[in-house]
Symmetry: C2
Subunit: 313 residues, 2 copies
C-alpha cells in the first residue's frame, strides 16, 4: 500500500503518519512524478494533476484533496477510472470565516482609514465608522463555511439571508432564497458574501443588473470562486459607484495580473486567495485523513467528504 | 425647566425632543456659556466643563454625560453642589466591541500585510495568517463593554479570562482573576485587552514587568484609558520585541503628538480614540436620556446609569 503526498507535511507530521500506519509506504514528494505508477492513494492540494498523471497512476483508487475546490482536477480522466475523490471541506471553515469577518469589520470600523492616517501621522477622528450590528447580510452558498459565517454574523446582531439553488433551509440563516430570487433580495443586503463553489450554475451567476440592484453602500465579498462574475462587470459597477466596496479573495485569473484595474481601485480590497490560510492547515487536513485512511485499510470503507465530480463539489 | 445641550443633535432629533417635552426649554448651543446660569439639566460629552462653569450654573441639578469617561469633569465642584451625574455606559458597547474585534481579527488574518501588498500591486500569498480560534484572551475590566467583548470572543472559540479588582465573576468569562494576579496570568494570554476606566487603582497598573511577562507574540489592546501605563514602558517593550503587536485607541496625551515614537512603530496601531464612533451614537444617547428625563419630570426620580464621582465610574 503506497500513499503519495504531493505536498510536504512537517517532519513531526510525517513521523506521526509513519508510526500510525507501519503497513503503509508514505512518499512525500511528487515533482518528478516517478511515484505515480505505484501510488494507491494520492494526497494533493488539487492543483497539480493532469489527465496524463491519472493515466500513469495505474493503481490509484482514492484521491484525497487537502482543499475544497476541485475545479482544476482532470474530472473526465478520474471519473472514467472510477477513482474516489474526497476533500477536507470542513477545515476551511474557521480561517475563512475569520477572514470574512475580519474584512467586513475592518471596513465597517474604518481600519483602512485608520492605518492610512497613521502612515501620515495624522490624528484624524473623522473615521466615518459604522456598525455591523443591525445590518443585513446575504450569504450566497450557506454550506459548511457559509453557515459558520452566518453563525458569527448572528452573534454580531446581523440579519442573515441564505441563498442556494433550492432555497432549502441552511443553518444560521434567518431566511432562505433561491438562486432565481437573488435579484429581488439584493436591495435588502448591506453585505453580499459569496462562498459558492465553481459549477455550471454559479459561473457568471452575478451580472451587471445584480450589482445595480445592490445598495449604494453595500459591501460585496467574493470568497468562493473567481468565475462568479466577469471582471468587467465588477470594474464597471465600482467605477459607477453602484456599491460601496468589494473584497475579493478569488479571481478569474490567479495570480491577478499586475495591470488589472482592481489593484488601483480604492474601494476594492485584494486578498491573494489567502483567506483559508492558517498555521493549522495541514494539521487539520491530517485530522480528516488519518481516520479515513484507518477505515480504508481496516474496513475497506469509503472516506468521508466524498466529492461528486459531476456536481463539482 | 431648561435643558442645555453642549453638542448639537441632528435636526430631527432636536424636533423629537421638543415635541416630546413641550414643557421643557431646550437649548442646543454652549460655546458662549450664556445659557449656563438658567440650565436645570446639562447634556454634555463630558470634556467641556470647568469648575467655574459649575459655579455659574446656579440652578444645575443633573449632568447627563453622553459618554463613558468622566475624568475630565470638575469632580470637586460638582460633588460640593450635590449635582447628580449620569452617563450612557451601555451605548459604547456595540461600536467599541466591534472595533476591538475588527483590530484583533485584522492582525490575526494579516490585513495590514494584505493592504500593503495591494498598494505594491504584489500578489503575495505568504500572509502568515493565524487563527483567533483556540487562543486565550485576558480582558482587563469585564464590565458592560468587556463582557460584550468576551461574548463575541467566545463565539470565535476564544478562551476568556476576566480581570477586575475583586476577581468577582463577570459575564462571558471562563475564569476570573484579581488585579494582583495579572502578572501571573499574562503568560497564558494571546491577547490582552483593556477597557479599564481611569481610576487611582488603574493608573499605571501595567509596568515594565507586565509586558515582559506577556507572550512574545501577544497582541496588547488598550481601549480603556491612556494612563493604564506610562508611554516609555510600552515603547521599550515594543523596541525589545517583548510582545507581538499593540493596538491603542487611548493615550496619555490626546491628540497623540506628531513626534511621538508610537506613530512610526510597525507593530503599533494607532486608533485616534475613535473606537466608540458610530453613526448611531447620539441616537442611542437620546434613547437613554429621553426616558430618564420623562421620569425626572413626572416622578422626580433619579436617572439610570448614575456615576459615582468618588469611584470615577
Amino acid at each position: 500500500m503506497e500513499v503519495l503526498f504531493t505536498f510536504i507535511p512537517k517532519e513531526h507530521q510525517q513521523k506521526h503518519l509513519i508510526e500510525q500506519f507501519p503497513e503503509v509506504h508514505f512518499h512525500f514528494a511528487y515533482k518528478d512524478k516517478m511515484r505515480l505508477p505505484s501510488a494507491d492513494i494520492l494526497v494533493t492540494y488539487g492543483e497539480d494533476l493532469a489527465a496524463a498523471d491519472i493515466e500513469s497512476a495505474e493503481k490509484l483508487k482514492w484521491i484525497m484533496v487537502a482543499s475544497a475546490g476541485i475545479e482544476k482536477m482532470p474530472h473526465a480522466a478520474i471519473a472514467e477510472r472510477g477513482i474516489i475523490v474526497s476533500n477536507v471541506k470542513g477545515i476551511h471553515k474557521t480561517p475563512m470565516t475569520e477572514s470574512v469577518l475580519a474584512h467586513l469589520l475592518a471596513l465597517k470600523r474604518s481600519l483602512p482609514f485608520i492605518y492610512e492616517k497613521q502612515r501620515e501621522k495624522q490624528w484624524n477622528r473623522k473615521t466615518g465608522s459604522r456598525e455591523l450590528y443591525g445590518s443585513t447580510a446575504l450569504i450566497l452558498g450557506p454550506g459548511a463555511i457559509g453557515s459558520e459565517i452566518g453563525r458569527l454574523l448572528q452573534a454580531f446582531g446581523v440579519h442573515t439571508i441564505g441563498c442556494n439553488r433550492s432555497g432549502k433551509q441552511a443553518e444560521h440563516m434567518e431566511k432562505m432564497v433561491r438562486f432565481d430570487q437573488i435579484l429581488d433580495t439584493l436591495p435588502e443586503a448591506d453585505a453580499v458574501i459569496s462562498v459558492l463553489p465553481s459549477t455550471n450554475e454559479t459561473k457568471h451567476l452575478l451580472k451587471k443588473e445584480h450589482f445595480q440592484a445592490m445598495k449604494k453602500d453595500a459591501i460585496f465579498m467574493n470568497f468562493g470562486r473567481g468565475d462568479l462574475f466577469e471582471d468587467e462587470v465588477l470594474v464597471e459597477a465600482m467605477e459607477n459607484g453602484e456599491i460601496g466596496a468589494a473584497v475579493l479573495d478569488v479571481f478569474n485569473t490567479e495570480p491577478l495580473p499586475p495591470e488589472h484595474p482592481f489593484w488601483d481601485m480604492g474601494n476594492v480590497v485584494i486578498s491573494p486567495h489567502a483567506s483559508s490560510h492558517s498555521g493549522k492547515y495541514v494539521e487539520r487536513a491530517l485530522e480528516v485523513f488519518i481516520p479515513n485512511l484507518r477505515k480504508w485499510l481496516d474496513e475497506e470503507s469509503e472516506p468521508t467528504n466524498l466529492v461528486s465530480l459531476e456536481k463539482g463539489y
